[in-house]
């Protein structure tokens, strides 16, 4: 009986996470357009439903009924494999992200389970590994389309990935040293409590540089403006997904938004104390988690509509000559402090 209820709870959690991620893309598109309109003094979508809130549904229905096109010279196997890879990696990466304290679901279970799909003891590395697989979707889409714009987009994506993955990993390493564990749940629990009774023990306060590096590299990894070179529309039409239409295009689009949600969720767990926060009891911690993710996502969109795109050589120079040395310095200083102070 006990095993059964755990099994059902786990299945429910998986279904819930999948459903939320699927919908987060639609919600994000709506907010992206609304915030863009706000930044540019327009109305944005306002005709479909109250305040245009049904616009994403209309968009999805439209995409479903579009014709599926494939260039004649495209490599048909890889052409269809690429969007599947992208979407799968985007969903899979979230599977190890915890989003709430352990709970018994109001006494339904005998022993509490964590609010996450699965708890792996090397969770940080698993996320890193899966997101590094996601880039193959973009690169393959660029190559398999057999179009020069797509190819350039794919090439840029792989170059960008190589340049920013190192800084991304190094900023993670300093957090791992502070928390002394690779488990995301462990890292979040290391941030519980307060300094001097009122400053939350979030790693962002002792690792501001690490947070900056993580978020910058995260923006580059998710191909968002001002680092959206793989799909820079003024130069490459639409970059790697130029030749895609209908639902295959929708898969890329969805993967991009889900990746943003994942990076924000991981940043929340690593730097912003996850579900720990003042005022709310522990069982409502997931509200804090949602608030923090929403703030980071707003920041993402805000940045896109405020900053112009960098030049490509500037991106490379910034990645290798500024971000990487800063990340190494951050790691060395953190290591020295942890060693001396015995954190």
């Amino acid at each position: 009986m006990a095993i059964n209820s755990y099994f059902i709870a786990q299945l429910a959690l998986i279904g819930f996470t999948f459903f939320m991620l699927l919908n987060s893309a639609a919600v994000m598109v709506y907010f992206e357009r609304k915030i863009a309109a706000w930044a540019q003094q327009r109305y944005g979508p306002h005709l479909v439903g109250p305040a245009g809130m049904l616009q994403p549904i209309a968009d999805i229905v439209k995409l479903m009924f579009k014709e599926e096109l494939r260039p004649k010279a495209a490599d048909s196997f890889l052409f269809y494999l690429a969007p599947i890879l992208c979407a799968t990696a985007a969903f899979a990466a979230f599977s190890v992200v915890p989003f709430g304290a352990e709970t018994t679901f109001f006494g339904l279970l005998d022993k509490p389970i964590g609010l996450e799909v699965t708890d792996v003891n090397v969770a940080v590395l698993v996320i890193f590994a899966i997101t590094s697989m996601g880039v193959y979707g973009i690169v393959l889409a660029g190559w398999a389309s057999n179009s020069k714009y797509s190819l350039l987009g794919g090439l840029r994506s792989s170059a960008q990935m190589i340049s920013y993955e190192l800084s991304y990993g190094l900023s993670l390493a300093s957090i791992i040293m502070l928390a002394g564990t690779l488990s995301l749940r462990g890292i979040v629990d290391a941030q519980a409590g307060y300094w001097f009774g009122f400053i939350p023990k979030w790693f962002v306060f002792i690792q501001p540089l690490g947070f900056f590096i993580f978020m910058t590299a995260g923006v580059a990894e998710t191909n968002r403006a001002p680092f959206d070179f793989p799909e820079a529309e003024q130069e490459l039409v639409a970059g790697y997904h130029t030749e895609y239409s209908s639902m295959t295009f929708a898969l890329f689009f969805m993967a991009e938004y889900i990746n943003m949600v994942t990076v924000s969720a991981v940043a929340t767990d690593l730097f912003l104390g996850g579900w720990h926060g003042p005022f709310l009891p522990a069982y409502l911690g997931w509200i804090w988690f949602l608030v923090k993710i929403a703030a980071l996502l707003f920041f993402y969109i805000w940045m896109r509509w405020t900053l112009p795109r960098y030049r490509y050589d500037q991106l490379m120079e910034f990645g290798w000559k500024w971000l990487l040395p800063l990340a190494v310095l951050n790691l060395l200083v953190t290591a020295a402090v942890v060693l001396k102070a015995g954190w």
């Binding site: 890193f128 590994a129 697989m133 193959y136 190819l151 990935m161």
Partner: protein
Amino acid sequence: MAGIYFWILAALTVLASLGVVLQRNPMYSVLLLIVSFGALSGLYITLNAPFVAAIQIIIYAGAIMVLFLFVVMLLNVPTEDPPHGYHARLLGGAGPRWFGAVLALVLVGELIYALSHLRATPLPGGNGNTASIYQIGLTLFREYAFAFEVTSVLILLAMVGAVILARKES
């Protein structure tokens, strides 16, 4: 149960590795190599070494193969062509092919000899606990510190060599 996983993953590794060398499209070769690395990583998980498995994916399948893919895409060769011109005369004839076949047979013979005369001596040190990163760190920087440092020097040398080879004469 673990035995089934081993055989599936081992077969996948071998088949993917064969695919890398047996088909001529370099793009598919790179992708098959990634599949092979993925299956290897699965083998590490069955050996209760999740850290090594994750690192295998991040370093080999994630970082190094992106670089390979980058080069293949940059050159954009559809298939590997058979040699032509000067190289065809040197390598394409019947003589060189027979010579190659004999060399391959010698190599296989050597491998069989070496493997059949293998004396299984376990590596020194190491308590076999690969699940904990703490243990891996201690083993790596105590028992195997020398090997670890020598490897890093080797990689540094390779890097310097690559820079010298790629440098333009001014």
